[in-house]
Symmetry: C2
Subunit: 422 residues, 2 copies
């Protein structure tokens, strides 16, 4: 079990600039791990069952490094506001509903089923402040077969009363949540989730840093998304040099545990130096950053600087969970940045964004996002025959158009960590 061979037209990223393509080849999974791509089945794998996907495309599963599960219900609505106004108008009223477990059960049921059907195989997810609803979400994620990290959100200031915890209760509920999920799941794990600096007092941030260290738990949050937000943080944590420095001050900025920060649209040089030093992952969210008028992150520079970058939908700042689409949005935003902001930074290529969506973000989960030997076996089989054309396309061209044209309806099969989801 968890050992088999897929046959089809295969592509994966070797590096940010190098896409490897294998027409009509064999991809071997042994005990949930990739063994590599072969033009003929090697002798030692001859006994494994073969699934022949004919002309279909086979690529690594896509990794969504940042999305908000409770915001799924209003995706596609409300991109007429900037971040802080958007939070108050659309986001907080919706998130408040998750104190009601009946609503949470229905809403998270829909969200997880849509995520299961999507191109996403792994995701790093915000829930809400509500411990019980977060558990419900994690139960559903576990059942889906996806591999995810999900976080009960912490917020003890600057939010509506119905979404504001006391500092004590926020810490207590976080510890209780962690004890409840300890050892419970195979594919679902907790991640410490201070919403962002404006929502968390210094005392709460300090406690979360301690909890992260105590349990060796990864951390997710938001960083330098919007100019007004950055100004606000400067006032809230005057002792920190930068927004990132405010997390660092409370031991919530990588270094000892994995950390992913969404957005990084307006990072200063000092902040980027700290990101590099601490190995913090950047979750580039081009759809959201456009919808909420945040700006365009200089992602190609981040790649050249050797930072760790992946791609994210940031649902529901992003309007969709389709990570193929997010690859297109990353390319498109980088074109406008080149034209309008800085023509010395080249736009992102297809190879670049394919890397971000697979191996780049996959690294947050370990050896994930590639078909090189020893990588966990996450794969999508895509039947692109419905994307009808009279033109004879090369394998490279067939892959290149997927971000612009394909969605969950074109996914024929999906494998996560060696298990076939459909």
């Amino acid at each position: 079990m968890d050992s088999f061979i897929l046959r089809g037209n295969i592509g994966f990223s070797q590096s940010p600039d190098e896409l490897r393509l294998f027409a009509d080849s064999f991809l071997v999974c042994h005990e949930g791990k990739c063994q590599g791509v072969f033009s003929r089945i090697p002798e030692k794998f001859r006994g494994l069952p073969l699934k022949d996907y004919g002309k279909s495309l086979i690529i690594p599963g896509l990794v969504d490094l940042h999305l908000h599960a409770p915001q799924f219900p209003f995706r596609g609505i409300g991109s007429d506001r900037e971040l802080l106004d958007w939070l108050n108008t659309y986001t907080y009223p919706e998130e408040g509903k998750y104190s009601d477990l009946i609503y949470a059960d229905k809403a998270y049921g829909i969200f997880v089923e849509e995520l299961r059907k999507s191109a996403t195989t792994r995701a790093v997810i915000y829930a809400t402040i509500h411990r019980e609803a977060t558990l419900l979400l994690m139960d559903k994620l576990e059942s889906s077969g996806l591999v995810t990290m999900a976080g009960k959100v912490n917020m003890d200031r600057n939010a509506p009363a119905y979404l504001t915890e006391t500092t004590d209760s926020s810490i207590r509920e976080t510890r209780r949540w962690l004890s409840e999920v300890a050892g419970k799941y195979q594919r679902t794990s907790p991640i410490i989730t201070p919403r962002f600096i404006p929502s968390c007092t210094d005392e709460l941030l300090g406690a979360l840093g301690e909890i992260s260290a105590e349990y060796s738990l990864p951390v997710q949050s938001h960083l330098s998304e919007n100019l007004s937000e950055i100004d606000w943080v400067r006032g809230l944590v005057p002792s920190a040099d930068t927004y990132g420095g405010a997390y660092e001050k409370f031991n919530l900025f990588g270094r000892d545990v994995p950390c992913v920060m969404a957005h990084c649209v307006h990072c200063s040089a000092a902040e980027l130096a700290l990101i590099k030093k601490n190995g913090v992952f950047i979750a580039h969210s081009p759809d959201s950053n456009t919808n909420l008028s945040s700006g365009i992150a200089p992602v190609n520079r981040y790649i050249r600087q050797g930072l760790r970058v992946g791609l994210a939908s940031d649902l529901a700042g992003g309007a969709d969970i389709n990570m193929l689409r997010m690859m297109a949005e990353a390319i498109r935003a980088s074109h406008l940045r080149w034209r309008l902001v800085d023509d010395e930074l080249p736009a992102l290529s297809f190879a670049n964004v394919f890397y971000l969506a697979t191996k780049g973000g996959g690294a947050f989960f370990g050896k994930v996002g590639s078909f090189e030997p020893d990588y966990e076996f996450d794969a999508l089989v895509i039947d692109d025959s419905a994307l009808v054309t009279p033109k004879e396309l090369s394998l490279a061209e067939r892959l290149e158009r997927l971000p612009f044209l394909a969605g969950d309806r074109n996914i024929q099969a999906k494998f996560v960590s060696g298990q076939q989801l459909f």
Copy 2:
């Protein structure tokens, strides 16, 4: 016949800023013309057949003011180039194939069928230089039930040999094409189509201006899309003040006949004044302008200045023919323009882009794009139940999310000029 009543949740544009919404109402079509929206069926229409679409949404059909039919085969491929390089690398080699009528038959068959299934009810279309293939395209468009204008393209310089006509042959073939289509179609009409200034000698432009005047035919072309293109035009027609002035010089810039110019990303004040004076339509193509790194047109300013603006896919600079998606791209591009270029020009609202995609572009076809009385009856019935959410959405919210989430798979029924296509 062509007389019936639709029941559903109805929305249409009254003006660029005013969307009118009617929950559970009746939309009356009498002999192909809209009679208005009613909360109860008026006495005089009681005998008409009723189609009850229940909870579905009913909106005017969408108008695509600019797209290239022969570029459909490579949609989603090649957005790694700017305009002039993209033309030489991707576009011209594909367009060259339409000298082969077997290829043209297959390719245009696919294109027209996809357009028929899409949200587009009317379109203004480029073919290629090839007269016979253009006729084939027009035959297929006529059979589809869509209402379209299509043009044999004229090119007699600065293109590969296989796509370059002699000036005489370009004029002669255009006249022959016009005689062949005269009176042939109900829903398909010819439009004069100089590719753009760089592709046409002064002599050819002069002749096309004469033909347009002689037959009272509308004109389509490209204007001020890309900075290198604009520089090139300045050198090619030094006697014209502006790129638009170069068309004007040859009587190809509105005034006496309808004229639509695609893009208008980088128009000067003088060019805009001429556009206004001559009543030229602007086909805003946000997807293409982003993909090809052209820039972002200040569309909201054009609307405030009272210019005539519609929306366009510009397939295959745009990657898709989904005009719902183009509404999202117009909003999204306007957000980035506000953030990165000019924070004094507000971003486009949903009401703005809904207007552009319906009544704004519809005006190029006459009284089209609204459900006000006497408008031609073009309508889409959209079943948004597959866009699943636990949230109770208002009618406004249901419409607002369509551009971000919906496509042809959500279109339940489609009517063009009173005829039901499916």
